[in-house]
Amino acid sequence: MSLVDLAREEAERVQGRVIALHIKVGRLSGVFKDALLSSYEMASYDTSLQGSQLIIEDVPIVIYCSQCRAESAVVSMQWLCCSVCSAPSSRILSGKELELVSLEMES
């Protein structure tokens, strides 16, 4: 619902019909892609966004390793460790995003 509200608000500002929404979803955002896709269809039904497409970009979990100072994507969210030197780290740089990046509008 928050996504539909935000997109409608933005679309109203720039005027026009929305064809697609580009969003970023981090692996640690707590949002499951398939569930979001099906609930978006329901939430956008009967609104100005009905029929628009939701294009989701998966954002991997990237951590900073204080041992070897590498920034690397973790292999699994069950094992937060550096993929260069395998030291554990909880300094999360990205992967918690839940962001509306842009709107694709009918021209």
Partner: protein, 226 residues
């Protein structure tokens, strides 16, 4: 010839509204000098039981109050009220988590400047509460020994949204053959460096340490505030 669709940049957090309210709440808590602790866990892992004990133990030395979120019934609020501190229920109906706006509404008739500690018990759920900031200083994630050792592996997101983990019902650990080293390793795997408290509300195990931890965290927050 069809025209290219135009792309409009937005770059806004989808849960912006919640985050804005949470930020306002955090500022208000800071100004009011109240230390706010939230509790999340799956249903039945002992949030209410632990909280009732904590409220009772803190009450002689601090001004304490609690908000409790629940889908339905006021049972938890009634149980917490036995500790003698002000308690308010937030009934969420079908909503599976608390949002910052609900906390703000619930606090409207309370003067938080009169409090040292405010506790917020979230709805029993290890999924959705992780996405909603409530403006709290510390978020505790509770997991009971009866739930097994792999809750952190199944719900890494909530463990990463919380600050400290609490193992509850430690008195039942032997009875359910709880493998504590494995549980500890699982917590460290999904959240390296996470502090873990071990408690039993029934026998009182770890409750003194829990109270000391809360007092220390509050003192640290006040120190940083000055």
């Amino acid at each position: 010839m069809t025209q290219e669709p135009r792309l409009v940049k937005v770059r806004k957090n989808i849960l912006k509204q919640n985050d804005v309210v949470a930020r306002e709440l955090r500022g208000e808590f800071l100004r009011s000098n109240v230390f706010v602790v939230s509790l999340v866990s799956s249903p039945g892992s002992g949030k209410t039981t632990i909280l009732e004990k904590i409220l009772t133990l803190l009450r002689p030395n601090y001004r304490v109050a609690a908000l409790v979120g629940d889908l339905a019934t006021e049972n938890d609020a009634q149980r917490l009220a036995r500790s003698g501190v002000p308690v308010k229920q937030i009934t969420t109906g079908t909503l599976c988590h608390l949002e910052a706006g609900m906390v703000r509404n619930a606090l409207q008739t309370w003067n938080v400047t009169q409090l040292d500690f405010l506790f917020i018990e979230n709805v029993g759920n290890l999924v959705c509460p992780s996405s909603y900031d409530l403006g709290e200083n510390v978020r505790l994630v509770l997991t009971s020994v009866t739930e097994g050792e792999d809750k952190p592996l199944k719900y890494p997101t909530i463990f990463n949204s919380a600050d400290v983990a609490v193992l509850t019902k430690m008195d039942l650990a032997d009875a359910v053959e709880f493998d504590e080293p494995t549980a500890m390793a699982n917590i460290q795997a999904v959240r390296p460096g996470m502090q873990v408290l071990r408690v039993s509300a029934k026998t009182g195990l770890g409750m003194r340490e829990f109270i000391d931890f809360l007092g220390l965290r509050r003192a640290c927050a006040r120190e940083m505030n000055v």
